[in-house]
């Protein structure tokens, strides 16, 4: 490498300047390279904007020549108790699943970080549930949930307990979601723990601080940004939960697991009311957007605090 560096100027002098690209073309270079990707982005943004436009039309399969009705869809959706049930189901699912996965994931990461030989083997298989398609995971669990011959009722002696009944379905969905995505939190936090500097912990050990004190005052604040990244990903994904729940219950029984995306699917695809479905989606998008902005600002604060804690 150093040889290249020293010989290079000589080469230049011998051959004269290397082929120079005109300044203007050089400045355009990044734009030319990025242009196809920009076109893809526009190609995806176009239907997005079109969807927002649908939400102020009265566009259904039965009414292919729609006209603008402004906020009629929003008024109708916002005054519909079904919509608010979906909001509640989505909120419960997102909050409980994210909290459960975060607590379990952080716990597993801490255990794997301190543990022994067993940990090394298990770390390899930790990601298996995460890599299986959520619909496939849902299918497996649906078979295990079966009240008559499902293996769960057999192993736990629950008789013919119905895991996907009106009262249990949402909690069972959260259980399966935790099965899939707890490893996601765990591997992110584990990578975070391992990237922490050692010095503060050594100093704390020299000072004779207890394990718990060190954990609470030192390790947790320093891990916090990594935990928050995991929380952001999980919470945002839970807000738009669809695959898993659709396979397990298709939103039922009744409205028990009808999340906002499942509601939007029913309206726009099942009932072919594109305007109403788009209204659902636009409202969900606003919810996701606000939540994202808030969580990212919390993350920024945590990162600054963690950086300060290192000093």
């Amino acid at each position: 490498m150093s040889a290249t560096m020293t010989s290079a100027p000589a080469t230049n002098q011998r051959d004269g300047a290397p082929p120079r690209v005109p300044e203007r073309r050089r400045q355009l270079r990044p734009y030319i390279l990025a242009l196809p990707a920009v076109l893809v982005v526009i190609g995806i943004l176009y239907p997005f904007v079109l969807g927002a436009y649908y939400s102020i039309l009265n566009y259904t399969a039965a009414n292919p020549d729609p006209h603008v009705v402004w906020f009629a869809n929003y008024r109708s959706v916002l005054s519909d108790p079904q919509f608010w049930t979906s909001v509640r189901v989505t909120a419960v699912f997102a909050v409980v699943a994210t909290a459960l996965e975060t607590v379990l994931g952080v716990g597993i990461a801490l255990l794997l970080n301190r543990a022994s030989k067993i940990g090394g083997i298990f770390e390899k298989v930790l990601i298996l549930p995460l890599m299986i398609a959520p619909v496939i995971a849902g299918t497996i669990w649906k078979l295990m949930f079966n009240p008559q011959f499902g293996v769960l009722n057999h192993v736990f002696g629950l008789g013919t307990f119905d895991w996907l009944s009106k009262d249990a379905a949402l909690w069972s969905s959260i259980l399966v979601d935790a099965w899939i995505y707890t490893p996601f939190v765990a591997i992110l936090v584990l990578a975070g723990i391992r990237s922490l500097p050692k010095e503060p912990f050594e100093a704390s050990q020299v000072d004779g601080a207890s394990w718990f004190y060190t954990f609470r005052r030192l390790q947790l604040p320093m891990m916090w940004p990594y935990i928050l990244v995991a929380v952001i990903f999980r919470f945002m994904d839970c807000l738009k939960a669809f695959d898993l729940i659709y396979v397990l219950t298709a939103g039922g029984p009744g409205l028990a697991t009808r999340t906002l995306q499942i509601g939007a699917y029913e309206d726009s695809i099942t009932f072919q009311n594109f305007s109403r479905g788009s209204t659902y989606m636009f409202l969900l998008w606003i919810l996701v957007f606000i939540t994202a902005r808030y969580l990212v600002s919390v993350l920024g604060k945590a990162q600054r605090r963690a950086a300060g804690a290192e000093d």
Partner: protein
């Protein structure tokens, strides 16, 4: 390493036993469904619902799922769905690489107007509710004849694969010292040759990781083929749900066998790129 880090750990010898117990408990929970899927896939038709752990295993189901007989029994054409998944996902990843690598290079090497907007838009695709885009696309696809076509699927899968490729590879190009390309330029290379002969080979591990991760996510996607495909562009994920959906006799053993086959490609690929998973899954927010 952990032993030196944790002050007072000596007092936790019972604690480390408890830690092992905790880990074992999680992995029993995590691995049981996979084990159960394997067991169910090995049962014959007569034993699929009448037995739990004691049965006479057979590997016949895997062959049945992929054969015409399986299609007749369950009216699910699994091997066609498998082939379609390979074409859709392979095509989508290829398109993403061809379009995404130059964009990632541009965004990683130069600060240019709109580069941050481009990256932010890419990231927002990761978090946007899919149906917001899919419902209008459903209408458009039906109008222009892209509904239930592989081209249509490859296009819409860019929503999944493109952000991954661009975000992962931009961080690789950013971490690549620019000196290397400068040296090549001084040696008389053109920019294009410096990119192709110097930068690109050096980020090959990143390209492999991004491509495989994008393939996994495209493979596992369900909403797109569910809404935008019917028969000729429908994939493994949709096929698997059909086993439990239809009337007639239910073949749970075949369902499990199909689920296992459908889950295998992502699992194998994930184990080969395990080192890059954390960075990829968090879009570079956490370095693994």
């Amino acid at each position: 390493m952990a032993k030196e880090l944790m002050p007072g750990q000596k007092r936790f010898t019972t604690g480390s036993v408890l830690a092992d117990v905790g880990i074992l408990a999680w992995f029993a929970f995590a691995l049981f469904p996979i084990l159960w899927m394997v067991l169910l896939a090995l049962k014959n038709d007569a034993q699929q619902t009448s037995t739990y752990f004691a049965f006479s295993p057979t590997v016949e189901n895997f062959g049945t799922v992929l054969s015409d007989r399986g299609t007749q029994l369950t009216s699910v054409d699994f091997k066609t769905a498998l082939l379609t998944s390979v074409i859709n996902c392979g095509g989508a990843v290829l398109v993403s690489l061809v379009i995404g690598i130059p964009a990632a290079y541009a965004a990683g090497r130069w600060k240019f107007r709109g580069s941050e907007d481009l990256m932010f838009n890419m990231l927002s695709f990761r978090f946007a509710p899919e149906l917001m885009v899919i419902v209008p696309l459903f209408v458009i696809y039906n109008q222009v004849g892209l509904f239930d076509t592989k081209v249509g699927m490859i296009w819409v899968l860019q929503l999944v694969t493109m952000p991954l490729v661009v975000w992962i590879l931009r961080s690789y190009f950013q971490d690549l010292p620019e000196d290397l390309e400068q040296a090549a330029l001084l040696d008389g290379y053109t920019r294009r040759r410096a990119f192709l002969m110097v930068a690109l080979p050096l980020v090959r591990p990143g390209i492999a990781a991004a491509a495989l991760l994008a393939f996994i996510f495209a493979w596992n996607n369900y909403v797109f083929p569910l809404i935008l495909a019917d028969t000729s562009a429908s994939t493994v994920t949709v096929a698997i749900t059909k086993y439990l959906g239809g009337g007639g006799q239910a073949y749970y053993n075949l369902t499990a066998a199909a689920a296992l086959i459908g889950a295998l490609p992502p699992l194998v690929l994930a184990l080969t790129i395990q080192r890059y998973l954390v960075q990829g899954l968090s879009f570079g927010a956490v370095k693994g």
